[in-house]
Symmetry: C2
Subunit: 338 residues, 2 copies
């Protein structure tokens, strides 16, 4: 198993990306191909100890974070994103990780790898640390205006990922809506509800915003617009709350003593909330193991994304999605039990 890593993508590229790859290589023994400008990557590697599991593929072009995805992918065939995905296609790598322009990663994945059988729209699945266990939110941003049947496809892909990689038997699926009752929802979710109810998935009905971090279901299905807003809301609330608490508990000497006593406890809480612990988000529905890491990824986040990509690759999720999917129209779709 070999993981290709986009060395040029992300707010902290290339330094933190290369450092994360080094850690994954040295600490976890994972074979890694760093894709990007060799003259930039090589010096970062040579100053470090052992890099026996790392190779470099030189690509002269870079797709910037703010470039128009489709245009950039069409023009920059020698970019780290396009070339990294071609390594997957050619069987020279088993998974690809990028913290770069996520729109470009999606566009290039469709272009280079193509879609799984029966999947119209690939989707991003993001793991959110729930109180009672991790929750896979799908779609977290790939499709802003999906049709109801696409939400059914997201639920199907999310269930396979949850079963295989998150190791949850018969994963519970919830549809994100504005109320638990079946009658609650907008046009999209009301129709998607019917499709999900008629499927063989372990559908639990509608869930609400407060279920996102509860862990009452394992897979939460939503459109990419709502999913993206919700994901960033969760991150924002957690950050703000931690900063409000920090301000309060460090005002005054006595409070500082209390804070000192509790620093171990606070560290555990911070760890539970740290996105870097969870690595990347799988792009599900393309013919290859593609992982999108947070644009802000530091070395630790990249190391964990590589670990996750490496583990997921062995489950051959794209093949499972293609093989179990009996094409696309509602009730006929999921004849086989998951």
């Amino acid at each position: 198993m070999r993981v290709a890593v986009d060395a040029m993508g992300g707010d902290k590229a290339p330094d933190e990306i290369v450092e994360g790859a080094l850690r994954a290589s040295n600490e976890l023994g994972i074979d890694i191909t760093l894709v990007g400008k060799e003259d930039v990557i090589a010096p970062l590697l040579s100053s470090k100890p052992s890099q026996r599991h790392i190779e470099i593929i030189h690509t002269p072009e870079i797709i910037a974070m703010d470039e128009h995805p489709a245009t950039a992918v069409r023009k920059k065939k020698d970019s780290s994103i396009v070339r990294g995905l071609e390594l997957l296609k050619e069987g020279k790598a088993d998974a690809f990780v990028s913290a770069g322009n996520s729109g470009a990663v999606m566009a290039a994945s469709l272009f280079v790898l193509g879609r799984c059988t029966g999947i119209d729209r690939p989707a991003i699945g993001t793991i959110i640390p729930g109180k009672e266990g991790p929750v896979l939110l799908i779609d977290a941003g790939a499709n802003v205006d999906p049709e109801p049947v696409h939400l059914l496809q997201f639920a199907f892909m999310g269930s396979i990922y949850a079963r295989e990689v998150m190791r949850i038997g018969n994963p519970k699926v919830g549809l994100l809506s504005n109320g638990e009752e079946e009658t609650k929802g907008n046009k999209l979710t009301l129709q998607a509800h019917k499709l999900l109810k008629g499927s063989n998935l372990n559908f639990q009905g509608n869930v609400e915003g407060r279920d996102v971090t509860k862990g009452t279901v394992h897979v939460i299905v939503t459109d990419g617009f709502t999913g993206n807003v919700v994901l960033k809301t969760v991150e924002g609330v957690a950050e703000d709350l931690v900063s409000i608490i920090r301000e309060e508990i460090t005002s005054g000497i006595l409070n500082k003593v209390g804070a000192l006593i509790l620093q171990g406890a606070f560290r555990k809480v911070a760890q539970k909330l740290d996105y870097a612990e969870y690595g990347g988000a799988p792009l599900l529905g393309v013919r290859g193991n593609v992982f999108i890491a947070h644009g802000r990824s530091n070395a630790k986040a990249i190391k964990n994304a590589i670990r996750l990509a490496h583990e997921a690759a062995s489950h051959r999720i794209p093949k499972l999605i293609s093989d179990n999917n009996i094409i696309v129209t509602g009730k006929e779709m999921f004849q086989q039990d998951l």
Copy 2:
């Protein structure tokens, strides 16, 4: 100024509602009309000291929390919700507060009070405690499938409310989307963005999920589906985080000592996050001051909702909305500066 209160609505009705009304009356000196079953309300009042500012209007019918809103409103003309709103219409009260079936409150408000001039769809504005100050999120659940022009109307109503009641000069308006760039959004928000840009509102462009609790803008505009999901996500994350922290800091004797030292600080944080501090959410766009309180409202939340309703009533928001609104089609809509 007199506030009519639905004594029969909410998970904790009638006890906590009546208690909240008593506190608003005794502590704040607000004149209150409790609307509901007299035989239930009167005994709750008679056991208490002074109730000089409180009167009761007897209504024999109750609309339950899970009843179909439009049907219930049509059938139950003698319910506390319908009669309470008629008091507004008849000028016998200046504001109405209910923690009951919010769909029924909206339906009855449209039916009894009607819409403000130029407003197609009334919307719920909810105040979220932001890090840098309160944020008005509109729509928080009234319209699950609005058109772009409705989002413009929400922004207009939210700006008036923020200026008058929240006392923010020239309030900043943001459009909730899946990215800050103007090109990010679904069909609805891409079109709404253009309308907002062409208006005289203080439009700051798109904002993201993490801005909801930051307070970077004063008014965040969104459809009622996304708004409801986001609102409940914020509540859920805050609750879960507080409970995770509580678990960690109370495990072990030393931690308990630290927690004891910090209890004052924690209380301050809890207060900042307590929805009960913020009272109710205004239903904007109907011809009357209607406030929807949280279904879980306790006496404190009801007291604060009554305080807010009482204060808002003096600003005559519905009249300001009707008078300043130069009808409905995009660019012509907001000729006057706010």
